[in-house]
């Protein structure tokens, strides 16, 4: 209701403003001011900030609770109900950093995630270039087929992957998980990079060839710097989707390459009631995303939409 009244007021306001300013005979300025008013008041009511604030509050609440729990002792978690740690402790984090079964989970995850990111981006670079610059036999079908792999449910692939990698003796190795995650990360990287590369005018390629650059030299010296942000975004998303995936990583590993995600679920189901350590482990898995998010903030939408926004 309030919003309706507001916008009606803004409209009336705007019309009077339009008249007075037209009278003032400063056409250019008036137009700019009008645009400003419109942006500020016409499309957004005065309490616009309330909506994002409430939404962000809703988003932060569960995260805050996890962080809060990670600094409590188990007795405090279970016995008292407090909004902040009464007796702050680092014991939970200490457990993770001293117990190999916990910290090796992080190391394993990082190893296969980095392997996967490197593989995905390096094979996707030439392919994305081909898709963005050339037409060739079956290009559209191939591009579509890649997309179906990005959309394929990992549950469908869990069992066949297990058998395939067993046959090659790769079960419980980092490379197995890295290769399995290529299923959705390679298509993702190809699509994102293609999106960025299509934004680079083709004339640049042609000029470089006229100037006598060979293809590899052109690609590394001229083209790569131009799509550097695209490579960064593709790498970030490959990293992220490999980091958050659990089903395939858990199916393909037992002990030696067990990811942190699997360590967490197993602890819950087995002896499992060490809530403090669980919360601390959860907080530590959020950190990589939180650290790099600032650098990709303008590309998040583009990355999630496969380079198509």
């Amino acid at each position: 209701m309030a919003a309706g009244k507001n916008s009606a007021a803004a409209r009336a306001d705007g019309i009077t403003m339009q008249r007075t300013e037209a009278a003032a005979d400063a056409a250019g300025k008036a137009e700019a001011a009008l645009g400003q008013t419109m942006l500020r008041r016409g499309t957004q009511s005065r309490f616009w900030w309330l909506v994002p604030t409430l939404y962000i509050l809703f988003l932060m609440l569960p995260i805050y609770w996890l962080i809060n729990m990670s600094f409590k002792t188990n007795t405090e978690i279970l016995s008292t109900f407090s909004l902040w740690p009464q007796d702050p402790t680092l014991r939970n984090y200490r457990v993770i950093f001293t117990d190999p079964s916990w910290y090796s989970g992080y190391i394993n995850s990082i190893i296969y995630v980095v392997m996967n990111t490197v593989i995905s981006v390096s094979v996707a670079l030439p392919a994305a270039y081909a898709f963005s610059r050339y037409r060739f036999l079956g290009d559209k079908h191939l591009f579509f087929w890649l997309l179906t792999n990005r959309m394929a449910p990992p549950a469908v692939f869990a069992l066949p992957f297990f058998q395939l990698y067993s046959a090659f003796g790769l079960i419980d190795t980092h490379i197995a998980v890295a290769l399995a995650h290529c299923l959705f990360n390679v298509p993702l990287a190809v699509w994102i990079l293609e999106g960025f590369m299509s934004g680079v005018p083709k004339e640049i390629d042609e000029t470089a060839y006229i100037d006598g650059y060979s293809f590899p030299r052109f690609f590394v010296k001229i083209f790569m710097p131009l799509i550097a942000s695209g490579v960064g975004v593709a790498a970030f998303f490959a990293f992220m989707f490999s980091w958050v995936e659990l089903l395939l990583a858990r199916t393909l590993t037992t002990t030696a390459a067990k990811p942190i995600a699997a360590t967490m679920t197993r602890t819950v189901s087995a002896s499992g009631l060490d809530w403090g350590v669980l919360a601390a482990a959860g907080v530590l898995t959020i950190i990589p995303g939180a650290l790099v998010i600032w650098f990709v903030r303008n590309y998040i939408a583009k990355g999630f939409a496969l380079g198509r926004v």
Binding site: I56, F131, Q163, V268
Partner: protein, 289 residues
């Protein structure tokens, strides 16, 4: 961009092709194999034809899981799309608020799926969770562990928490691309706020909104980890979605034929949706250029 015809470009695609063939085609062929064969053990297989498919298509369990998936997707799409548009419309357009909003809103998108489950598990528990305790204090007998309705509400709330930001970010990307001149013209015409939304903002968001809906549909259709961690498919089977059921069937019960047939049906649905997605993505893309 006008592209030149060059079949040698195939060589640049080869590495991707080899890699994805290894990680997609071979496993998929295994699935197809199992779906048409039966075994008495000892690795002796014989042709079973469409037996498994008939069994799957006549099993209540499959349709129940599929129904739950569709209901879940429909509910979260309704909530996330409308909420996402509403929030995107109220986002700041310039100033320090923009990066702050973008970063804070994107944070849930980058949390590992199982940690999302864990976060909501500890948030919703009646003994130690903020949500559970608060509701209990208010006198609401909330317990997602043994009440199917509460389990559903919690899972939906979790998904809204996790993914609404995606819709917000995509819509916002569409909104900021609207030139000021459009708003000025609307102002001069004395357009109401609703008219501005309906005839300027919505048409401009059309494409990104379609992408958001398709992405959300597909990702919610193959949801596995979050409900698996939060409820484990329970209480009973009330939150057992297709992915969870499939993994139970394949790895838990080792019922290969049925699981493979179910995978194929599942995959065909995804394939159909992917095609719609691809058409939307590429057609609108060329239109824009």
């Amino acid at each position: 961009m006008n592209k030149t015809w060059n079949n040698k470009a195939w060589f640049m695609v080869l590495p991707v092709l080899a890699l994805v063939a290894f990680s997609a085609v071979i496993p998929l062929m295994t699935v197809v194999n199992y779906s048409v064969q039966d075994t008495f053990g000892n690795n002796v297989f014989f042709w079973a034809g469409t037996e498994w498919f008939q069994e799957i298509l006549h099993s209540d369990r499959f349709w129940a899981a599929m129904g739950r998936n569709l209901a879940f997707s429909a509910i979260i799409l309704c909530i996330e799309v409308s909420l996402g548009i509403f929030i995107a419309l109220n986002m700041p357009r310039k100033g320090w608020g923009v990066p702050v909003c973008l970063v804070l809103m994107a944070l849930p998108l980058l949390i590992p799926f199982n940690v999302v489950g864990t976060i909501w598990q500890v948030f919703g528990r009646i003994d130690i969770g903020l949500l559970g305790r608060t509701l209990a204090e208010l006198g609401i007998a909330y317990n997602y562990v043994n009440n199917p309705v509460h389990a559903w509400v919690t899972i939906i709330l979790m998904d809204v928490w996790h993914w609404t930001s995606l819709v917000v970010l995509l819509c916002y990307a569409g909104l900021v691309s609207i030139p000021d001149a459009y708003y000025q013209a609307a102002k001069i015409d004395g357009a109401s706020r609703w008219a501005v939304f309906r005839y300027i903002q919505l048409p401009k968001m059309h494409r990104v909104l379609l992408i958001a809906i398709l992405l959300r549909f597909m990702d919610s259709f193959m949801i596995y980890t979050e409900p698996f961690v939060l409820t484990g498919g329970g209480p009973g089977n009330t939150t057992t979605f297709m992915s969870i059921d499939l993994v139970k069937l394949a790895i838990g019960e080792f019922n290969l034929g049925e699981a493979a047939a179910m995978s194929i049906v599942y995959f065909l649905i995804i394939l159909l949706m992917s095609w719609v997605f691809y058409t939307v993505m590429t057609n609108y893309g060329t239109e824009k250029r």
